[in-house]
């Protein structure tokens, strides 16, 4: 399996673990106000407005999807027109087989537009996220896909505040755990004891207010 290299470049992270999405969102806003550069957040579910809070611009995938859709439209038309008008006109019921039969090509053109849009967009989505079958994941916490919401700060980046100040902000914002030097790992490296933590007990589980 290939390693995913978004996190695995031997980077060290300061990671704040939250159990409440609102607190995470607030922490992100506070840190960004103080001009702290946040590497990324990792959450088990989509947190609304988190991407805005992190200052991410809206993805351009929609433009890509539109272009794929146009390609589909063109393919559908070319397919039907070249086969049924140019190469081998089929005379059915004495009706002319020319551009005027365009209306009966519409269903196929429509379906191919949808097909190309869907597949084109999803393939671009996977490419953009560097997702492919068999790639190894890189995690900062065993429970980041369960109930832990992580806020990761790259230690090698220059920050406006010292690492200690950042950590104390994270604690004040309600992080249940803050660690200074976290390296990413993938689950195949996990030991038996780690599994105990994940499956065995409910310690550190998120509490919903």
């Amino acid at each position: 399996m290939v390693d995913k290299s978004i996190l695995l470049d031997n980077k060290k992270f300061t990671v704040g673990t939250f159990t409440d999405s609102d607190k995470l969102l607030h922490a992100v806003e506070t840190l960004r106000k103080k001009e702290v550069k946040i590497f990324d957040c990792y959450t088990p579910f989509p947190v609304h407005h988190l991407d805005h809070a992190l200052g991410y611009t809206r993805t351009n995938l929609t433009i890509g999807a539109f272009l794929c859709g146009m390609l589909g439209t063109l393919s559908g038309f070319t397919l039907a027109y070249s086969m049924n008008v140019v190469d081998w006109p089929m005379i059915i019921g004495g009706k002319p087989q020319d551009i005027n039969v365009f209306t009966s090509f519409i269903p196929v053109i429509f379906e191919l537009t949808i097909l190309f849009t869907a597949f084109g967009m999803v393939i671009m989505f996977f490419a953009r996220n560097r997702m492919i079958h068999g790639i190894k994941e890189d995690l900062l916490d065993r429970r980041q896909t369960d109930d832990h919401l992580l806020l990761a700060i790259d230690n090698s980046e220059e920050q406006s505040l010292s690492n200690d100040e950042i950590q104390s902000i994270l604690i004040n914002e309600g992080a249940v755990k803050v660690k200074g030097n976290v390296e990413s790992f993938n689950t195949s490296l996990t030991t038996e004891e780690d599994l105990e933590i994940v499956i065995g007990n409910n310690e550190g589980a998120a509490v919903i207010n």
Binding site: T43, P46, F119, H133, E137, D146, A206
Partner: protein, 448 residues
């Protein structure tokens, strides 16, 4: 976000995020229960019936079915339209309700989408084998033709169907898989066996829930929903055009596309309810699939059932008003001819039975909803049977009038597709999360 206090919570039992993960991963991580084995065995038995009857059809020929002159479409196309229709509820729940921002869809969309995919598998069997020589099943594809100088005919609704159904199946699969990725990653990170770690790791594609990925994911899901909505409408519209573009009295009516789409959603919700009522009981998901969910779905059944009912009556009125005697006869024959029993079964099951959902008690009593959902399934099968068989068995020429009865092979194939459907569904319930964990976690604090 402001939510009114009169709304009831979408997830009951005061669940935490971990509770959601544990509850939904439990059937995947534990050994299957006895009830799972029982259901799975019955399904596999029926699947064997499917294999046997299909093999017999291929070996002996299409003459093992009773489809013949006059009634050239019988149980096969009835079953095809029945299964395709069932599929529509899945896309409606996952796509249309997403566009409408209906949060109650979140705990039922996964299984409804799975149902869509399995139903389309079942549907595809019928036209494929009805062609007679299934090994030439690739002929409807627009391939350079080495067998003659012809290309496929793009004027034919049957070809539109090939494109529509295959697009529908592949787009539904993509939509379903995309939604599964975060949940597969959750199972990967909890995996205790090497096999599970490998396979869930393989299909999770390295998902780690980064905010960037979630941002893109939400946009992609929204666009997929946006294109799936016209897609799902187009699919059953095109299926209805298989009939509507012909010149058979009883078929060539302009009301068919909206009427078929409403019928498809109606039958699909019938099947979703049948499946979910079993699943929530067997897997103890009463806190996730609450009576609020059931009530919302029964309301959709009531609405679409009534639309279908109005369509039946409209069709009849238009035939009477048309002044075209063959059209008038087709409808009189449906109501009072030799297949009147099928017509009145359809009318009872689709138009009258769902009207009980005007009562709050009926909408919130699981066993009663289950009974009605079965009635709806039966009724919608009869709708397609009535449309196909009653319109064909008496055509313009009285000397070619026949009665059509299915052979044991046709019945076996139909029962067998239930085997295929439920085998797929049981495997899905064992190996994949039946409820979308990631999405349910977002609404855990919300109200409807």
């Amino acid at each position: 976000m402001y939510t009114a206090d009169i709304r009831k919570p979408l997830v009951l039992g005061g669940k935490t995020y971990t509770d959601v993960t544990n509850d939904i991963c439990r059937p995947i991580e534990n050994k299957p229960t006895n009830s799972w084995w029982l259901g799975f065995s019955i399904a596999v038995l029926l699947l064997l019936v499917l294999a046997g009857t299909l093999a017999w059809t291929v070996w002996e020929g299409i003459g093992t079915w009773n489809v013949n002159k006059s009634v050239m479409w019988g149980w096969d196309i009835t079953n095809f339209v029945f299964w395709v229709g069932i599929g529509h509820a899945g896309t409606l729940i996952s796509a249309v309700l997403l566009l409408f921002r209906q949060k109650w869809r979140m705990s039922i969309n996964r299984s409804a989408e799975a149902m869509t995919i399995f139903a389309v598998f079942c549907a595809a069997i019928f036209p494929l084998f009805h062609m007679g020589r299934v090994w030439l099943g690739f002929w409807p594809l627009p391939l350079p033709n080495a067998f003659g100088s012809l290309w496929v005919n793009f004027n034919s609704p049957l070809l539109w169907d090939v494109f529509a159904i295959s697009t529908y199946l592949s787009v539904s699969l993509v939509f379903w898989y995309l939604g599964l990725i975060p949940d597969i990653a959750t199972i990967r990170d909890r995996a205790t066996t090497k096999a599970r770690k490998f396979w869930y790791g393989f299909f999770a594609m390295g998902w780690n829930g980064s905010a960037k990925a979630w941002g893109r994911y939400e946009v992609v899901a929204l666009i997929l929903a946006g294109i799936s909505t016209p897609l799902v409408l187009s699919v059953h519209t095109i299926v209805s055009m298989d009939f509507a573009t012909s010149v058979i009295p009883g078929w060539h009516t302009t009301i068919f596309p909206p009427y078929f789409v409403a019928g498809a959603i109606f039958s699909g919700f019938g099947m979703v309810l049948t499946l979910l009522l079993i699943a929530r009981h067997v897997m103890n998901y009463e806190n996730y699939i609450t009576s609020e969910h059931l009530e919302a779905m029964t309301k959709v059944i009531l609405l679409t059932g009534s639309i279908v009912g109005v369509a039946y009556i409209t069709e009849f009125v238009i035939a009477a008003y048309s002044g075209y005697e063959y059209e008038q006869y087709a409808f009189a024959n449906r109501m009072f001819g030799p297949y009147a029993w099928a017509y009145w079964t359809m009318m009872f099951c689709n138009l009258m039975a769902p009207q009980v959902f005007w009562s709050k008690w009926a909408r919130t009593t699981p066993w009663f909803i289950f009974v009605i959902s079965i009635v709806v399934n039966i009724g919608m099968w009869f709708e397609r049977f009535v449309i196909i068989v009653t319109s064909l068995h008496r055509d313009f020429l009285p000397s070619s009038w026949v009665m059509y009865h299915a052979t044991w092979v046709e019945v076996g194939i139909f029962l067998g597709t239930f085997g295929l459907f439920f085998t797929c569904f049981f495997l899905f319930a064992k190996f994949l999360p039946v409820i979308n964990m990631a999405e349910v976690k977002t609404i855990i604090k919300d109200k409807e």
